[in-house]
Symmetry: C2
Subunit: 179 residues, 2 copies
Amino acid sequence: MKLTEKTLERNMVFQGKIINMRQDKVELENGRTATRDVIEHPGGVCVLPLTDDGKIIMVRQFRYPYQEVLPELPAGKLEPGGEEPLECGRRELEEETGMTAEEFLSLGTMYPSPGYCEEVIHMYLAKGLHKSVQRLDEDEFLEVEQLPFEQVLEDIMEGKIKDAKTQIAVLKAARLLKK
Amino acid sequence: MKLTEKTLERNMVFQGKIINMRQDKVELENGRTATRDVIEHPGGVCVLPLTDDGKIIMVRQFRYPYQEVLPELPAGKLEPGGEEPLECGRRELEEETGMTAEEFLSLGTMYPSPGYCEEVIHMYLAKGLHKSVQRLDEDEFLEVEQLPFEQVLEDIMEGKIKDAKTQIAVLKAARLLKK
């Protein structure tokens, strides 16, 4: 098998506020044609801020698609014009939690839903935290909380934390830190 | 803070093959209005099939949004009409890998990208595998491979496996199985 698909047509069907939707026409490896729904997204970053005494700084916010308040790691979208992931991580960490960090260690990337979405999320572990000033957007509402690493890990294993990037970053950090 | 948003208008802007896109108007807790892009998705299931000798059965397929062949756990979408996640997991495991399993253990759920997407992915660990018959859709192309659990775990930690559901299911299973 070649495992590839050839783009025959790219059709932008809707341009949203954060995301765009395309519906492309492709040629499969058996010569037939098919339709591919694609969500365009600029990419994002999430940061696991770890305090010197072993706590993770999390944010809680209302997530409209699920109609639920979710506990998540601080995160945000890359700014247009080619913002570097690490720069975005520093910015979002400070904006959402009012903290800066001395050290950022990569926790790799993740593809949220590769069947139809092109978003890439870059993940970092941030250490050596210092207090700065929280700067939320005018229309951004979230609560910041500090939870022991072990508590967050337990909440993930028990299904209480559902956000994908948070589950991956914490589970990977747990292996790296031998927790 | 109340951490809630009130729907003022629901606007379907495009109905795709797998997903639909809405652009809703909401009232924020400060009384202002905002726009929310929402991807509607039926939900999905992924299965971590673990052989008696400690190997994970994975699939490799071309993922159009990334233009990459990705290693992933077998997975699929819930059928319309309220298919149960476990039933979907059994079906997708057999269709994609040609295997059945005696035992399915829940690995919880995950929300791929909660800012704009309503997809929920249910994850299972499948044990007691038996050979059956692979039944791919006519336009589905994938390669099946068996890899040692430790190898998959290492590939995740080194950033070689990017799919979110695969990272979460394997990392959670590793904790449960004390690997």
